[in-house]
Structure formats: structure tokens, C-alpha cells
Symmetry: C2
Subunit: 113 residues, 2 copies
């Protein structure tokens, strides 16, 4: 998408430190971190939601989860604990409609509700 | 696992209303709901974490995400918004070590931090 900030970062149009990059996704730090470790795992593909993912989308999300697990290890929060979050739609406070996974750790995280 | 509550529910040893069941996962309501919709998407496989998922684990998690998307539609929170959460380890407050995805919606959800 022309104007999507995550698409623009993925294309290299907006400079951003990538902690990981492969053919399907990249990982950056959230610019407004809510925990000592707060990463975003972002697919290059401009997916807007989880409905009707299909086989390709399922494989992609599985890959994103595996990358999240790897990043937790690299950030040294795998043992202390971390949280993955996918926000979808208005009630979640989703800030960018391009689907992505938050990885937060490095502190005691708040209750879910 | 013999004593894991999610394994026991999956095997039918602990009666529980399943909103969805297939060969790879099942979906139940959280017994302590933190939102009007609060579901748990649970793999039959007793995975404890995201590290070293491998190809099989990636496919499984991709499937769980797709099922979560379907359930959001069935619960009528796809348009209003919802949040998926995977807790891992002490800092996250993970209550059952058998990996699972929370799906929450039906109200404005709190900030992530």
C-alpha cells in the first residue's frame, strides 16, 4: 500500500532499525515502547485482518509466531516471560491497519482485562 | 500430559463446552472472562512455548490464528474489534503452561502497557 507506514518501512522508504528481516517479515522496535522490550513483528504483505487468511496467510502467521519466539530469545525475555498481542479493529486500539504482532517483555505485564 | 488441565479438557476428561473442535485444536470460553467475549484457542498438542517450533509448530500456530479469526466472526466482534494474546512465562501471568491464544472483545480493551 502506497501510504501505509509499515509498507513504507518494509520497502526502505522510511529509515528504521530492523532487528530481523527475511523474505516474509521484519522486526522493529515500537517507537512508543510500553515495556523494556517492545517489538513489532510485521509481515511484508499488507494483510489487514485474520478473516479468510487461507493457506498462505496461515503459513505466514505461523512464521511470524516462530520469529516472535526467536526474538524473545535474542531479547533475553524467553525465561522471564513475554506477551504477544495482535490488535484488530477499534475496540483493540489498533494503531496501524497493516496486521502485526506486538512482543512485550522485560517487566511484569498488566492483567489482560 | 497426564495432569494438564487443557490436555484433560481436550481428551474429554473434564467436561467443557467446546465452541469449535477440529483435529488440531479446540475453543472454549475462559472460566474467568475479562471481556464480554473471552475465548481460548488451544492446540491438542501440549506445546509449552514458541521457541524451536519447527515447521509443524509453525503450521499449527498459523491454524490457531486462522481459527481465532473465524471465532471473532462467529462472536460478532470482527468489526468492533478484538485482541489476541499469547502469554509466555512468569512476567506475562501465564496461568497454564500448555500454549494457548486468548481472544478478547466486546468492549474497549485496555492499553497494552
Amino acid at each position: 500500500m502506497q501510504d501505509c507506514i509499515f509498507c513504507r518501512i518494509g520497502r526502505g522508504e522510511v529509515p528504521s532499525l530492523m532487528l530481523h528481516r527475511d523474505e516474509r517479515c521484519f522486526v522493529i522496535r515500537d517507537i512508543h515502547p510500553l515495556a523494556p522490550t517492545h517489538l513489532l513483528i510485521i509481515p511484508h504483505l499488507h494483510l489487514t485482518g485474520l478473516n479468510g487468511l487461507g493457506a498462505h496467510g496461515e503459513q505466514l502467521f505461523g512464521h511470524l509466531m516462530a520469529v516472535a519466539g526467536e526474538m524473545a530469545g535474542r531479547e533475553r525475555v524467553a525465561a522471564t516471560g513475554y506477551r504477544l498481542v495482535v490488535n484488530q479493529g477499534p475496540d483493540s486500539g489498533q494503531a496501524v491497519t497493516h496486521a502485526h504482532i506486538h512482543l512485550m517483555g522485560g517487566k511484569r505485564l498488566p492483567e489482560l482485562g
